[in-house]
């Protein structure tokens, strides 16, 4: 297991960065959260979390291209590092292990 624990929101963002790949930048991530999870999220919260994950070395970033919609401002595209992948995997395995402890419930 990684030494540092991830918060729920951090884990969510990390997963989305891994999933969105080339399209992983601030605005897109926040939109993704809004559409998929029906959860209201502020852009600044997303950015702050991204920076924190970057500080922890779980993701890295590079400037991508700009679009008209962005007033010509370039995107910062985030991608997951191998440490990030390892952390995600570790989390997932722990969850599955824990899930196995739960008695199987009948689904009605």
């Amino acid at each position: 297991m990684a030494k540092e624990y991830l918060g729920e929101f951090e884990e969510l963002i990390l997963t989305l960065v891994a999933g969105l790949q080339e399209e992983a930048y601030g605005a897109a991530i926040s939109e993704e959260i809004e559409t998929r999870l029906k959860r209201d999220v502020n852009l600044s919260a997303v950015h702050v979390t991204l920076y924190r994950l970057e500080d922890k070395g779980l993701i890295k970033s590079a400037l991508g291209g700009g679009t008209n919609e962005r007033g010509g401002r370039r995107k910062r595209i985030y991608s997951i590092t191998s440490a990030g992948i390892a952390t995600l995997r570790a989390i997932k395995e722990v969850r599955i292990d824990l899930w196995k402890m739960v008695p199987q419930l009948k689904m009605s």
Partner: protein
């Protein structure tokens, strides 16, 4: 149609740019704009009118931007700024240090000049803030007032004092609901204490009532605040007094409560009920002990409580919160009329006023004042002077720095060519200024710390930077720091802009010459500085001459070589008292070193009591005059060499142990005049009636010449002398000037023989008398310090100006030398300008010095009239100093080899 809204240039995004770290800005800005655009097309609002959609999107944008104001974002900012600046700062520091080292003398002058200004400022600030802090340890300071009392007789002010009748306090408190509390106080003079077999003399005490400790917040170390000073014969001692009287272990003052001591001849002991901390330096009242006021009120004599004529009491009032004291004061005339009925009760028309306690120290000019006072005007003047010194020091600094511009011009040019922005250059120069200022600060603090004790000695205070800083409120400290910082910054600003504005092309081509810009400023500054220096030098001369005059003035009374021996504290009055004193005097006169001895109720230098109801017996019964009175024995006028103008001296037969049988007086020349008698001869044989409705008559047997009973600030008053002895009258012993120590020892032996068990205390009259001039001597010292400071600062200004002009005229001098000018020639050409400036300054100082010194001298009833020498000498001194100062620079310039200065032409 309105222009389309563009979020990129909106105020909202500009707000973001202001606080958002630059490395994150592009990404965040982009994301925000994208979000804004998508908000516009949001499916939720597809049916809304466009205007609403825009408004919603804008609102959301603003909200989003505001949400970025969080520490996680903003803190990323600071780190980056520091990173960038440390690199530049290091470069600035190196350059600045190199410059300081390159011009050692110049930098030293610069730093030192500024440091002197700052140090002077700090010292003065210390002093001023101490003076302004008086009595502020009292919680009710802003509601506490002193009652003051003016008395008028025949329409003339005869007394302006703080003393009044004991009835004033209780009556006012009864009549005026605005008064929350009052306290009554009477100075008790010397406390002669006897504990077991030990005597303690010379402690100053007051009689104070039980409300004293509720009006004033002197801290108690032991005792119960609410019950102090209530019962008769109880006392509160200060820490120091208590420790001297009784053995105290580990500051356990509670153990002293209940201890007793005897005072003088009293047989009833005084009980210690409380111990208070030593009186703070900034208290206007000072005492070593307090005795309960009720001690004064005896069953058989309640005058101390009920008298409308005994006026020795001081009153303090505490008003209810929110009371306008001026309004209360306006009710006092009616009060006075109600109880004093014009001058029917006390012999004079009484007017009462309130003085806020916070003014008691700085704004009091009362007679019979117990407050330690200082001149408020002088304190504020000091503050102005401090500000002045600081401003001048900074302007000097600016001058010195800009005068060196030529040296740095090439550097600036080169930097600009290499791509430096103007802003960077400004930053660099400001940084250098700050560095110099910081250095100056360090030097200033060292100066302050090392000069502290000297300064304390001169000013007569016990200050340190530490105590002042801790006692100041944080806002005051903040203001001081702000002023210093703004000053340092502003003085760095001007040179920075001048230096950084040079055009690289002109500078590097070598065609750079200074413009005459700022020259006028520089010259007028030098004129101004030398004007004040010259005026101050004149002031120093006149002040010291006046002090000298006062110390050596013919007082009309000979106080030289007189020793004052305090009266024995333990000798009661009886019918043999006079004989005992006389034989003591006679024995003293036989001591080889003693010339004569006399006793008197007051000694020269002391303020006399006044009698308000004196008239001649042949004058109308309602006539009354105010005359100061003094009791003397028959040898007084001989011993002090007071001239008798008419009639005779007192004879031993004029004395009588029974006060009722005395009927002879001597008056002075002023009293003759006041009483309306034509000349001194005519006064002899006239009779004086003393006291209101008095019937007792006193015959005038002699008239003496006026003499200076008090310092020369005060006019000589009308005086009346009665032939009286008293138990508290000190003995004045005139001695020969050789072998004083032996004479004093002999006097002590005689004293001990006559008054066994009493402690022998003596002092030199001349010293005591001259103590009245302490304030003036101090003023003289302060003026001379300022003079020296002003001279130093002016010289710095002159150095700045002379080095500036010298640099400007190097080429001219070179050419002159090539053409054959001699050294003397060049020196005189260069110096004539400065001499002219200094001369203008010196001459314009004359009227300033003249009028301000006249004004100062007016405060002395007897003063010198300044002569020509006091005004001409400063001119010469100032010129000399100026010439010496500039000669270095000028001779150096004149000696330069013309080949060096002209080789590039």
């Amino acid at each position: 149609m309105k222009k389309e809204y563009d979020p990129i240039h909106s105020k909202t995004i500009r707000l973001l740019r202001w606080f958002c770290p630059s490395q994150l800005l592009e990404e965040i800005e982009g994301d925000l704009i994208q979000k804004f655009n998508r908000d516009l097309k949001s499916p939720h609002t597809s049916r809304w009118p466009a205007e609403y959609k825009l408004r919603r999107a804008k609102r959301r944008l603003l909200w989003n931007v505001i949400r970025y104001c969080r520490p996680e974002i903003i803190l990323r900012n600071k780190l980056s700024i520091q990173l960038i600046n440390t690199i530049m700062l290091r470069s600035y520091l190196t350059i600045a240090l190199r410059n300081v080292i390159k011009n050692k003398v110049f930098s030293a002058i610069n730093v030192f000049g500024l440091a002197i200004g700052l140090a002077a400022c700090l010292l003065i600030f210390q002093f001023v803030s101490f003076e302004l802090s008086f009595d502020n340890f009292n919680e009710k300071l802003d509601r506490t007032y002193r009652v003051t009392n003016d008395r008028f007789q025949n329409g003339q002010l005869i007394q302006h004092g703080t003393i009044m009748y004991p009835t004033i306090g209780p009556t006012m408190a009864k009549d005026f609901a605005e008064i929350e509390e009052y306290t009554r106080l009477m100075p008790g003079g010397d406390l002669n204490v006897k504990i077991n077999d030990k005597n303690f003399r010379g402690d100053n005490c007051h009689f104070a009532d039980e409300r004293f400790f509720s009006v004033f917040d002197f801290k108690l170390l032991a005792g119960d605040r609410s019950s102090l000073l209530k019962e008769p014969y109880t006392t509160v001692l200060t820490e120091n007094t208590a420790a001297r009287y009784f053995p105290v272990k580990d500051k356990n003052y509670s153990s002293l409560i209940g201890k007793t001591f005897l005072w003088g001849l009293d047989t009833r002991p005084y009980t210690v009920k409380g111990i208070c901390e030593n009186i703070p330096d900034n208290s206007h009242i000072r005492f070593d002990a307090l005795i309960s006021y009720s001690t004064l009120i005896r069953p058989d004599n309640q005058d101390a409580d009920l008298s409308w004529t005994w006026s020795d009491m001081r009153h303090y009032l505490v008003l209810k919160p929110g009371t306008d004291y001026k309004k209360l004061e306006s009710k006092f005339p009616a009060f006075s009329e109600r109880y004093f009925k014009g001058d029917k009760v006390s012999g004079s028309v009484e007017k009462f006023y309130l003085q806020p306690l916070k003014n008691a120290h700085l704004y009091s000019d009362y007679e019979y004042d117990i407050a330690t006072t200082a001149s408020g005007k002088a304190v504020w003047a000091m503050l102005v002077v401090a500000a002045f010194i600081l401003v001048i020091a900074w302007i000097n600094y600016i001058n010195l720095t800009t005068s060196r511009a030529l040296d740095r011009a090439k550097e600036v040019g080169l930097r600009k060519v290499m791509g430096a922005f103007k802003r960077q250059l400004v930053n660099q120069f400001i940084f250098e200024s700050l560095l110099i200022t910081a250095l100056a600060f360090v030097v200033a603090f060292v100066l302050v710390i090392s000069l502290q004790s000297t300064f304390n000695q001169i000013v007569g205070t016990n200050l340190s930077l530490n105590t002042i800083l801790t006692s100041l409120s944080s806002t005051k400290i903040l203001i001081v720091i702000l002023v210093l910082f703004v000053g340092a910054f502003a003085s760095g600003f001007y040179p920075a802009f001048v230096l950084s504005s040079y055009q690289p092309v002109t500078v590097l081509k070598g065609k750079f010459t200074r413009s005459g810009k700022g020259n006028f400023l520089r010259k007028s500054l030098v004129v101004f500085q030398f004007t004040s220096s010259a005026a101050l030098i004149t002031g120093t001369f006149i002040v010291s001459k006046q002090i000298d005059f006062m110390n050596k003035a013919d007082l009309g009374i000979n106080i030289g070589n007189v020793i004052i021996v305090q009266s024995p504290q333990l000798m009661p009055w009886d019918s043999t008292f006079i004989e005992r004193v006389e034989s003591f005097k006679n024995t003293l006169a036989q001591v080889p070193g003693v010339i004569s001895a006399t006793t008197s109720g007051n000694i020269p230098g002391e303020r006399l009591g006044r009698s308000f109801n004196i008239r001649l017996s042949d004058q109308a019964a309602d006539a009354h005059f105010t005359i100061s009175n003094m009791s003397v024995d028959y040898s007084f006028f001989d011993a002090y060499h007071v001239q008798i103008l008419a009639g005779r001296n007192f004879l031993p037969t004029d004395h009588n142990p029974d006060f009722q049988k005395l009927d002879k007086v001597i008056i002075n020349r002023n009293a003759v005049q006041l009483l309306g008698v034509k000349n001194v001869e005519e006064a002899i044989g006239k009779e004086i009636v003393w006291g209101r409705n008095g019937t007792r008559k006193w015959t005038i047997v002699g008239v003496v010449d006026d003499f200076h009973q008090e310092a020369l600030q005060k006019p000589m008053e009308p005086m009346i002398f009665r032939p009286m002895y008293s138990t508290y009258a000190p003995t004045s012993v005139k001695i020969k000037s050789d072998d004083e120590q032996k004479t004093v020892a002999d006097i002590e032996t005689v004293y001990k023989k006559f008054f066994p068990g009493n402690s022998f205390e003596y002092s030199y009259l001349e010293q005591r008398y001259n103590n009245q001039y302490n304030d003036d001597t101090r003023f003289g010292k302060v003026v001379s310090i300022f003079t020296i400071l002003a001279i130093i600062v002016s010289c710095l200004g002159l150095i700045g100006l002379s080095s500036y002009t010298a640099a400007q005229r190097t080429k001219e001098i070179g050419i002159r030398k090539v053409l054959g000018a001699s050294l003397v020639n060049i020196v005189s050409i260069l110096s004539i300008d400065f001499v002219r400036l200094v001369l203008i300054a010196a001459i314009s100082s004359l009227p300033i010095a003249y009028f301000s010194m006249q004004n100062w001298l007016q405060s002395y009833a007897y003063h010198i009239s300044p002569g020509l020498a006091q005004f001409v000498l400063p001119l010469a001194i100032v010129l000399l100093i100026a010439i010496v100062t500039i000669s270095f620079q000028i001779v150096k310039t004149a000696l330069t080899n013309p080949a060096d200065t002209l080789k590039y032409e």
